[in-house]
Symmetry: C3
Subunit: 331 residues, 3 copies
């Protein structure tokens, strides 16, 4: 196992937020509680429109959104593309091989070109931590950058949709116990969720993971650490399961999938340890029978598919906000 | 040669048709004559609009159409994408590797995700018979499924556009002789055309094919079987040529392309055996010099390119109908 | 090194221009000064709209533009796709493998099919000289063809955007000295620029290149030929750098990238030989440190990114004109 480089520190507010307005969305860190709640409120407006049957709005008509994907991710690309189209934006997909960006100047040349074509927004997915920040620091004034996942660092829209989903079901976060379960070490979702939950002053945030799947700095994240499900899940109100990156795991971090499921899989029996109205969440796609039992993934506590629906509303809200538009029409 | 599994039986009406309305389009079987004719009538309205220069209509504005292709098919994907855009729908293409669907639950998870993103229609292309039916049985109530070809089973929009093309040229199908020529065994087009022609009570449906390219159940399909062009083509009003799947054929089913053309290729001399105003049809792309002579494919009897134009009108009609919209505006 | 086939000669006016209207855009040759200036004037209207914040116009609403790419080119495909979307057209991308067009009839079948689907415009990119002309000679009457680059032959929109860029900065072309520097032999850009500059009666057109990178017919092109930068750049008003096709060059045509840069790279010192207000142009993407120094590419004389912006305006103008629409609304 290689030692991993330290992750980039918190982003200064001035990059993400400009005069109280969302300028880019790069990471939950540095966003602040007020802005985070404003995004969730705007997402609620889009979700409300949707429930009234209004699926498409002309807020970003004439804007050009570029999907700038340095690693393939059909799922993420699809959700952003759909969100952009529902805002009536034009969408371009530009797949970038990471090899062509070995020299930093090549990436900058690509950015300058897209800027010169008057593109308005870059959705960036990259396998290296800090890539979206790098791009945001170098784009022209009018252009917004949204981080769609960079290495093991940040995945802010996933955290936002998780918070949105929790808020729709649980009124008072200050009295909530939330457990995040599984491969925290490799998960950009875990990191983003922990920051978001703490920013929203959640009552208690727990992490349940084997020692091999916890980052060294775990204690500094402001969470309670557990190494077994039986004590960790007790009385929690929300369970956020993480996806096991199976291909990268076997041998190195966990003995076998079967043994992992025995110790950390979410079963009906373990779910019974949580609060009676506990939510079960998962960023998808779930490995059924590895980190979660099918009956739990499809059961009455699961809000996994609702997360997908909420993801669209949250992405529409963020895309509208960084362009200075909002669902109520007063930019 | 492997033995092939029996094909799925007819689809119960209740899946394709709901309260007299087209709900999905999965196969010609189970559609019924009234619905089949209603689709053709609606397609005629779209063709009429088109001839008046109206190429794009706002019938499906705000709807999201997903191209769900499990086997590559640029040609089919393009026609459905174009039909969707001409109806003002948003179109997403999702290429699915069949490997990722080895476990049925993975496919279902993908469907649930797309449903949760409020997609409205799935265009399904799969190399296994019954795939579109499987998906139709499992989608959420508001979502429509259109079969764009599954294995050697069904290809209903091709049959519909063939019927539409015949109806535009020949008034009374009950007095028509139609010959389907070539590789009936591997052709989803042949199967669908035979069912459609019989549903419309066509006077006589003939199949002309070498014994090696006829399915075992050929006799049960309600057709006259011929093994040579000279008797089979005599006095027919419509000739539907099938495409020879050259890569799968040689050695196993036919001695050589040259010999195939000698025995079953459509030449000017053979065309002269048919009725003087016979139509020559082909689903495309034609293997010139293998199943059809270039001079016939491009000749005055050929309506091959008209089939392409009609395919757009038929697909627009089907997509509008499964969404509860129709070209005359009264949904 | 293979001997290269002679390039197609000039295109008769009647193919590109019909009754004084732009019908196709295939090459600068045969376009004539009046039409060339009309395109530049229309591009100026689009650029003007853009500067007023109007990025999207409904001129081609309902039209279907097909990107017909026989060789991959993300960059070119992207600019045409963006130009089409900003004109509100529907865009389809059809990647064609050149293998499938070994037989000419297959390409024609594809064209006939796309025509039958009522596509309106083909953007053609092919690695063989004359491909776009071949397609233009065979398309149906209503359909327009735009050459997006064919082999080492033509690349007319690049030449048009170069002329547009020069005109925006320099009033009187008849008193201008323009130098084209680098791999003239393999460059479709060089050929197209030379023809455009001569058509616009530019004062003096120079070519600066090593002998190995000059075509045999160089003397017939109406240019002054130089083999060193020091004399060639003296007092020029515009420097058009060409991209070195590095992968095809080494060994065969140039000794090494380092030595090439020593002799033909554009440095600040060499730029100082040109006129004080000289423009530096490059079709992109630039090989920094090979044909151009980074400080020059990013310096105050460089209009490289402006070329990208102008490329959109020029492509919008051409696409609108071949469809009989223009930015002022009087078709």
């Amino acid at each position: 196992m290689k030692a991993q480089a330290p992750l980039p520190g918190p982003v200064p507010n001035s990059i993400q937020i400009d005069n109280g307005r969302l300028r880019h969305l790069l990471s939950i860190e540095g966003l602040g509680r007020a802005m985070l709640e404003q995004i969730l409120d705007n997402a609620a407006s889009f979700a409300g429109l949707n429930e009234q049957g209004v699926k498409k709005v002309p807020l970003l008509r004439g804007k050009t959104v570029v999907n700038l994907f340095f690693e393939p991710s059909t799922r993420t690309r699809t959700t952003f593309e759909l969100a952009a189209k529902r805002l009536s934006a034009d969408v371009m997909s530009v797949s970038m091989s990471t090899s062509s960006t070995t020299k930093g100047e090549t990436l900058l040349d690509t950015l300058r070109n897209l800027e010169s074509m008057q593109c308005d927004m870059f959705i960036v997915r990259h396998n290296e931590a800090g890539a979206a920040h790098f791009i945001a620091r170098h784009v022209a004034p009018g252009i917004a950058v949204i981080n769609a996942g960079d290495g093991r660092h940040a995945h802010p829209t996933q955290a936002l949709l998780d918070m949105f989903t929790i808020r729709r079901h649980k009124e008072d976060l200050s009295r909530l116990r939330v457990a995040i379960v599984g491969d925290v070490l490799h998960s950009r979702v875990a990191r983003a969720d922990i920051h978001a939950l703490n920013t929203l002053a959640t009552g208690e945030v727990r992490v349940i993971a084997p020692r091999t799947l916890l980052p060294a700095e775990a204690e500094t994240l402001g969470v309670q650490i557990y190494h077994d499900m039986e004590t960790g899940l007790r009385d929690v109100d929300v369970i956020i399961m993480l996806r096991l990156q199976r291909e990268r795991m076997l041998g190195a971090f966990i003995p076998s999938e079967h043994e992992y499921f025995q110790r950390f899989g979410l079963t009906e029996a373990r779910l019974a340890l949580a609060a009676p109205d506990a939510l079960v969440m998962h960023p998808g796609p779930a490995n059924r029978g590895v980190e979660i039992d099918s009956s739990v993934a499809d059961g009455s506590h699961s809000v996994i598919l609702e997360q997908v629906t909420n993801g669209l509303a949250v992405r529409m809200a963020v895309m509208a906000m960084v362009m200075g538009a909002n669902p109520k029409g007063d930019a």
